[in-house]
């Protein structure tokens, strides 16, 4: 038994069973990934539905980012389960009162929606590749066309209608999925740190900023790798969106914390000890200071000064990296922090994640890297770069 359990030291009084933290770093990764999905999808939808033409260079790429993250979402959950082989029990006999029972359906629905949307977006490219490529790869493309190789004007306008509809369904889908993850935590009355009506909304906004930040970073990196110039107009729109959503997120987090302190319900003393002590570095310095206030100040400065060129790219990319760190820390502070405050309201636990364990930091790191490996493969088969589009347009008019 000793090798199986990892208990946490505590101060004050905690229930004996609480000394083993139930949800570990893998459950930190899970809402982080769903957040990236929702955020990247937002960027894609801003172009697809709301017609933000400046976002054209990243719209299709953001969709692929969203898809690659979404495919990985179930992995941390499966790794966490005591019986992953029984995971489908939740789908077979969903317990209707459980906030978690519909997750599998919601996730499956959303994966299908993303795959469908990706297929419609890339259908012209798939058809061209199916015609032009030989060998096994060509065979894969031919299967991927699903027998639909009509690229006539009429067919393409039909595709467009589908894309619009899917993107419209996808907006509540992606955000619903993530808001619902917030509900999984916020609806638990057993933990004061989680039990908040604002939790789903905060999850949602932090999701949007993390996804936007990820698309910014990946877009800039992809431009460097492909040795093409970064589209500054596109980058600016993303940075402005990031700025706006960050303001909301910070306000909401501030309001939530203020409400908790102001209500001052039982256990608030322990929460305050926690906030001033163990949470000082992960929350105030990493999440709030370095990850939120600094990038916000940097982007504000860029807007004010009208900075442009390589300085703009470097500053926005750095800010986006910091935002990614802030949201990861936010997930950590919510998921792990909530469990470090004992249910007794009279004690604090000190969780130190193991490095090499089934639910350790290494496993969590691997899960976090997986979407990017997947993305690097997918973009080879379905290049989402809009520079590739004129060539396609030429072939279309032929």
């Amino acid at each position: 038994m000793e090798t199986l359990v990892q208990s946490s030291p505590f101060t004050g009084y905690v229930y004996p069973n609480e000394t083993i933290i139930p949800w570990t770093v893998l459950i930190v990764v899970y809402p982080y990934l769903t957040g990236l999905v929702a955020g990247a999808f937002t960027i894609s939808s801003l172009y697809q539905v709301f017609g933000f033409q400046q976002l054209r260079p990243v719209a299709h790429f953001a969709l692929l980012v969203s898809l690659c993250c979404m495919v990985v979402v179930p992995i941390p959950l499966l790794l966490h389960l005591g019986h992953p082989e029984r995971a489908f029990n939740a789908m077979i006999t969903p317990h209707t009162t459980s906030a978690f029972a519909i997750f599998a359906y919601a996730a499956a629905f959303y994966v299908i929606l993303l795959i469908l949307e990706t297929w419609f977006v890339f259908r012209p490219q798939i058809v061209h590749a199916a015609n032009d490529t030989k060998g096994p790869v060509g065979w894969i493309y031919r299967v991927a066309t699903l027998g639909s190789d009509d690229l006539s004007e009429k067919a393409l306008s039909y595709d467009k209608k589908w894309l619009f509809a899917l993107a419209i369904i996808g907006i509540p889908g992606a955000h619903g999925l993530h808001g619902y993850v917030g509900f999984v935590f916020g609806s638990l009355k057993s933990r004061e740190w989680w039990s908040s009506d604002l939790m789903p909304v905060i999850f949602l906004f932090s999701a949007i900023i993390s996804g936007t930040a990820l698309v910014i970073v990946l877009y800039v990196v992809s431009c460097k790798l492909r040795k093409v110039p970064v589209d500054l107009a596109c980058l600016k729109v993303m940075a402005y969106s990031l700025w706006g959503f960050m303001m909301f997120t910070l306000l909401l987090e501030g309001l939530e914390f203020a409400s908790m302190v102001y209500r001052g319900r039982e256990g608030i003393d322990v929460i305050m000890t926690f906030v001033k002590g163990p949470l000082l570095v992960p929350f105030f310095i990493l999440q709030f200071g370095l990850g939120s206030v600094l990038p916000l100040a940097v982007i504000t400065f860029l807007i004010w000064r009208g900075t442009t060129g390589p300085a703009l790219v470097a500053a926005i990319t750095t800010s986006a990296c910091l935002v990614l760190l802030a949201v990861l820390m936010m997930r950590y502070n919510v998921v792990i922090g909530g469990q470090e405050i004992a249910k007794t309201g009279k004690g604090l636990l000190d969780y130190q994640p193991p490095v090499f364990a089934r639910e350790g930091l290494f496993a969590a790191g691997c899960v976090l890297v997986l979407p990017f490996i997947l993305l690097s493969i997918v973009v080879r088969f379905l290049p989402p770069w809009h520079e590739a589009e004129p060539a396609l347009a030429n072939t279309r008019t032929r």
Partner: protein, 283 residues
Amino acid sequence: MEDKEKLEGQQRGRREFLSCLGSALACSAAAAAAGTVASGTVAATAEATEVQPNPAIPGYDWNQHQWAFGVDATKCIGCLRCVEACKKENNVPPDAHHFRTWVERYVTLEGEETARIDSQADPVNIAASGSESEYRFADRYRDAKVELAFFVPKLCNHCTHPACVQVCPTGATYKTEDGVVVIDHTYCIGCQYCVQACPYGARYFNEEKGVTDKCTWCYHRITKGLQPACVEVCPVGARIFGDRNDKQSAISQFIQNNRVSVLKPETGNAPNVFYIGIDKDVS
């Protein structure tokens, strides 16, 4: 143990059937259809079996009983025999992090506002006993001026509105007709959502089995007319168990003759473990 597993096995009948049915559905319904076809059919099936059949225990009808538990904290002497008996009876992992029942000690020293609380799982008490699988309260307040001191046994409250059952995504944990919250270990996926949801810290994750576990009021014993192990071994009668349907039972009398309270009533869980002799510090 063998009988207990047999009993649980019988109750699992419908779950296994559903499981097989579900597997077949899940296989046949491709991912695209999963969201609609599978959910509709299975939800309907689950609803149809909402009325639980009486478990096939000879001479036992779960519709005839309504079990409840009482704790008289004024009697508890903190001997921890209950903890030891429970660990042995229910094969609870023999360490300081897995308990179906535990005992808390509340000590208020002179001049202090709030009680100092510890349980047998406290490192000081483990050091005193010399082992995590032996239970003892260290004599740590020998030289202090103690104003008030008492022990409080804790266990699963088998709530009328159990938060753990509410959140279970598969229905592996459920409330029996006779008022006991149990877990189907063959159906639990080990997500630990129930561990999070329980405000009383009554649930733990059994790493070896990959499932959650908790007190069942020794369901394998009570359905045979026996008392739970902890009640059986308590030398002072601090733990009372019985059937509320029987107005003359010890528990009915306990609730009727005392001003009982429950833990954390504000959660809305409506616990079925009734306490006397606890004070404001106990939660």
